[in-house]
């Protein structure tokens, strides 16, 4: 992986980006158990796989989402952060070339 496609700035060298970790859903802190909360705080999906991750284009300070295969070091797709609010496609579907964010919502 030497280039990454920033949804705002287009293809840029990977050295311009910072990795922000896998996207993880927080349990409701008011209702979850202590064990669920500590698991959320510390535990990670350590095995290789296709994962949604936070990345930041450092020069422009733009945070976005990348779907990346951590075994092959290949970026499957990148999305603007708003995509998270609309709901990201299931990892399997996106990795297989299934449902994607429409091209019209991606930068040229």
């Amino acid at each position: 992986m030497k280039l990454m496609v920033c949804p705002l700035n287009g293809p840029r060298p990977v050295s311009e980006f910072a990795y922000g970790g896998e996207i993880r859903l927080s349990p409701d802190p008011d209702t979850c158990t202590d064990a669920e909360w500590s698991s959320y705080v510390f535990n990670r999906s350590g095995s290789p796989g296709v994962k949604y991750e936070w990345w930041c284009h450092i020069a422009s300070g733009f945070w976005f989402i990348a779907l990346r295969d951590t075994a092959r070091d290949i970026v499957v797709e990148t999305f603007p952060a708003e995509a998270a609010r609309r709901g990201l496609p299931p990892v399997g579907a996106a990795a297989d070339g299934g449902t994607r964010v429409p091209a019209s919502e991606r930068p040229p």
Partner: protein, 395 residues
């Protein structure tokens, strides 16, 4: 050197996954000190081919927490007569270890580590710039003008050793005591019934066993998936490189956290150099030019006269990192499943003491007292063992 076994037996008292230093040391001490010899060590590659053969071989005990200092100091003590124990030359070479400080806050951490170390009887001291200049011939004290050296933590027992020989020594010692080492044998599943381990499936057949020790470094999360355990472990590659051999000049081991460099000169004259982790999760041991460029430029900040020296080769290993930079060791919620993991970038030096403590833990079913600060359940209690300040470089 090692007995070849045509096939797996139907049952073993203990199965160890991973024939690296940690796994083989555990097998060795189980056989030698605990009388358990019906052991299979399963290795998907070859002996010592993982992080045992990919680290930069530095041995030290100048850690930050009481748990860490006691643990690593016991390891340094065990290293001393290991070669004699194995009847094998480990090229164990005590060099002295400098952790350079380029900022006031780094000096503060050095003083902190020195005081904790001295409290536990470990030789460490915070030293000034003049001491560093005398101890490291040829170093540019200004580091190219942008990171002047203010002082260092000097740790006289710091040493290097030949990493392959460590795996071979433990492996041969275990082999001679009846332990079976099966290379090219990948674990594909771990059978658990009623919350307890009953067997292991491999690419060469299945076997029954009541106890499994997992010592597989960067592959730990994949094994943990087989027993449905979650941990904070995350995997990043760590790269290293060596130069062509040059005339012996650098006796001590030099570490600079700010410049992200650690370097020593091997008995062959090569400079063995490492840096920080690659900056994102990846389960590959590919090498990058970015790494060589970055590390070389920082090497030249310290030693500008090396500009004509060539890099011979580079490689990477998979580091199983933890949030507090301390390992995860001992019993787990799955009865009979023992973990020796989270060894990130700091595992080689601990090889002997890991073998000692994990063999005790596997034999008795109780965590060895020295690993009390490293248990898996410390995260749920929010009682972390913060060793990040003692990591060689800021990862």
């Amino acid at each position: 050197m090692f007995t070849h076994h045509e096939s797996l037996k139907p049952a073993y008292d203990v199965v160890i996954i991973g024939a690296g230093g940690h796994g083989l040391a555990s097998a060795y001490y189980l056989a030698r000190d605990h009388g358990i010899r019906n052991i299979a060590v399963l290795e998907k590659g070859y002996i010592g081919g993982g992080n045992t053969g990919r680290n930069t071989t530095i041995i030290r005990s100048n850690y930050l927490t009481p748990e860490g200092v006691r643990f690593y100091d016991e390891s340094v003590r065990l290293w001393q007569d290991l070669g004699e124990d194995f009847d094998l030359n480990l090229f164990y070479s005590t060099r002295g270890h400098y952790t350079l400080a380029h900022t006031d806050s780094a000096m503060r951490t050095m003083r902190w580590r020195a005081e904790v170390n001295k409290h536990f009887g470990v030789q460490s001291e915070a030293v000034d710039a003049a001491f560093v200049r005398r101890g490291i011939p040829g170093i540019d004290m200004s580091c190219g003008g942008h990171a002047p050296i203010l002082g260092a933590l000097f740790h006289a027992p710091g040493a290097i050793a030949r990493h392959d020989a460590v795996a071979w020594g433990y492996g041969r010692g275990a082999d001679r005591r009846g332990v079976e080492i099966h290379q090219q044998t990948e674990v594909t599943g771990i059978r658990v019934q009623g919350g307890r381990v009953v067997g292991v499936d491999t690419t060469r057949g299945s076997l029954a066993t009541p106890r499994v020790l997992c010592a597989v470094a960067g592959f730990t999360p994949r094994i943990l998936d087989m027993v449905n355990l979650k941990t904070p472990i995350y995997v990043h590659p760590l790269q290293a490189m060596v130069s062509e051999p040059v005339k012996a000049w650098l006796d001590p081991i030099i570490v600079s956290g700010s410049l992200h460099v650690y370097v020593s000169q091997s008995a062959r004259g090569e400079l063995v150099m490492g840096a920080s982790l690659d900056p994102y999760e990846l389960h590959q041991t590919r090498a990058t030019l970015d790494f060589v460029e970055g590390l070389s430029s920082h090497m030249l900040d310290m030693f500008p006269f090396l500009s004509d020296v060539k890099v011979n080769r580079q490689w990477a290993g998979l580091s199983d990192m933890t949030p507090d930079f301390a390992p995860i060791m001992g019993v787990t919620p799955v009865e009979g499943f023992f973990l020796d993991a989270g060894w990130g970038t700091w595992g080689f030096k601990a090889t002997p003491v890991c073998g000692k403590t994990m063999s005790h833990t596997v034999a008795t079913g109780q965590n060895h007292p020295l690993i009390g600060g490293f248990t898996m359940d410390r995260f749920a209690r929010y009682q972390l063992t913060g060793e990040k300040g003692a990591a060689s470089v800021g990862h």
